[in-house]
Symmetry: C2
Subunit: 346 residues, 2 copies
């Protein structure tokens, strides 16, 4: 049994906790939180032991009537590995604590690549992180791009990737964020950080990325161009991507016109929190013009990194091979139950 | 004096009427409308003679207390040329009427290219439409793309254009349109109609376009990639585009982060209806990576085709050369008064 501590129980942390708990080879030691709120309350309801991430704020938990199992240091000490899902920048600050207790840790994609020993995507570089102390599971967008690059690179060779990332302004609960009624180049200067971030997984890949922010909260949408080194037909690319585990090639007949419809399908399918762990690639959009492949994909910013975190645990500890880990993760989480029959499976 | 009739007095028609009225060599004969509404009322206030576009609806104007100067056929008969700014598809239906009265007409970009004798962009193919009976002024997005392609093609040669068009869902007054809180691939299948539409102006250009729709109403935003046939530095491209008449290369210090800010600048500058007739190109976004040029531009869907319609009148009738017409149009409309000092001019 791998004893996993979760430091940070927000958007990512709470999902990782649920996913880890479902794994046959893992156990959640507990979760650490800075303050009592609806998520802390939910952690208690779910029976997770709660640890205080900040010493001075412990009285607040008592006032809220929430029992603590201890301080975050105790959680780290008892864990074989910690998933740090704290807000961007805090993970780097926590690195010293993990080192002190000699506990390997996974940071999230908001941390700088320089802070860690290696960056991780299960499909692309599972075997590179074994034995590392500090590993970064790349961000939602970089995960989505990496899952696409890996099979295309292997099958056709890639000359260059050019991607425009039309990003949601904030998550559904982040009601204070914008934009409203606007389309913002963000950043205005190129490239956006996503291209260099993909290079932490694929160091030699030519990739240019552009970012925009729009008034939407449900998912990011990528407009992708990949100049290939060979000329497959679109149908072959569709099948290639459909055969991947963590892509969902949307068949036209489902009538999924955008993220709202995809989320509704995930709700109907009974997915926890209506999460969509897969890249959602519109099948009809997959087009090849000469060497140029084009497609649209939607990325669920709150959940696509969750199975990646689970795999990263095994990858760092070296307990399972890439294919065994991914299969175990997907079966345990329910990712194997596709959202709908897809092209090659129907 | 060129006698210009305007058939259709909505978003485009009312702007073209104002712009034509300002030209030293043109006169508005009158404007035709299907029904009395706030725009009809405004036409009367401005002193435009109003013609009924649909015979059966004439009583409605009388009920609203609006005097009509006659039927649309009379307007067509009195005009040297008609600008047809009716909703998409109606322009094609009207073609027979224009032919009957032997009056050349300009249709708008919503009409099919097959319906007309030629498609028009002032910067790119002014001289090709002289003497034609039916000419289409291409749509706002195609106009924005053409203005960019022309100087880049002339100066550097173009290998291929790849553009993602992040489109506003509707105009500010079209409150019944969507999307809300979503990012829709639209169309899902590639290419969007914009690429083939640009080919009506540049027949031999390699161009692939992808379209998305988002919850914004103010302007479209284009994420542009142009693979060039030579390798200029970004600063040279900035200067090239800044030297164009109908581009506004946004200097960083203005702090214009999106369409809302650009519209506010246009309001402050006293532009009629806060119109932005120029392509708004973010200067810092202009980047060259190898052969690949990238940039973001915002396109004001309600107004960038207005100076193009004015020029198309002279181009069809052969009354001025390209450079004389564009200079006349821009001076009369106030387009020469740049929205702000730009890079090469400051």
């Amino acid at each position: 049994m791998i004893h996993v501590g979760i430091n940070g129980y927000g958007t990512i942390g709470k999902r990782v906790a649920d996913a880890v708990r479902k794994q046959p080879d893992m156990e959640v030691v507990g979760v650490a939180k800075t303050r009592p709120n609806f998520e802390a309350s939910s952690a208690v309801e779910k029976g997770f032991d709660l640890y205080a991430a900040v010493e001075e704020r412990k009285p607040r938990f008592a006032e809220a009537g929430i029992d603590l199992a201890g301080d975050v240091e105790e959680l780290v000490e008892q864990s074989d590995i910690v998933v740090d899902a704290c807000p961007s920048g805090i993970g780097a600050d926590n690195a010293e604590m993990y080192e002190e207790y000699d506990t390997p840790a996974l940071l999230q994609g908001g941390e700088d690549a320089e802070v860690v020993d290696g960056s991780f995507n299960a499909r692309s570089n599972f075997d590179t992180v074994e034995g590392m102390d500090l590993v970064r599971v790349v961000s939602c967008n970089t995960t989505g791009l990496s899952r696409l690059v890996a099979p295309l690179q292997e099958e056709y060779g890639i000359e260059k990737v050019r991607a425009t990332l039309v990003r949601r302004g904030g998550d559904p609960a982040q009601s204070g964020r914008g934009p409203i009624n606007d389309i913002l180049p963000n950043p205005v200067e190129l490239p956006s950080h996503h291209g260099p971030d993909v290079n932490t997984i694929f160091p030699d890949l030519e990739i240019d990325t552009l970012g925009l922010k729009v008034p939407a909260t449900l998912m990011h949408t990528h407009s992708i161009n990949v100049t290939l080194q060979s000329n497959p037909d679109a149908e072959a690319v569709r099948e290639l991507l459909d055969d991947e585990r963590r892509t969902f090639v949307i068949p036209e007949w489902l009538g999924l016109d955008g993220a709202g419809a995809i989320k509704e399908l995930a709700q109907d399918a009974g997915r926890p929190r209506a999460d969509i762990w897969e890249n959602c690639i519109w099948g009809e959009s997959i087009t090849v013009e000469g060497d140029d492949l084009y497609l649209f994909q939607a990325i669920h910013q709150e959940s696509d990194v969750v199975p990646e975190n689970v795999d990263a645990i095994r990858a760092v500890l070296g307990t399972k091979s890439q294919s065994e880990s991914i299969a175990t993760t997907d079966e345990a989480m329910g990712l194997d139950d596709s959202l709908a029959p897809t092209r090659t499976r129907d």
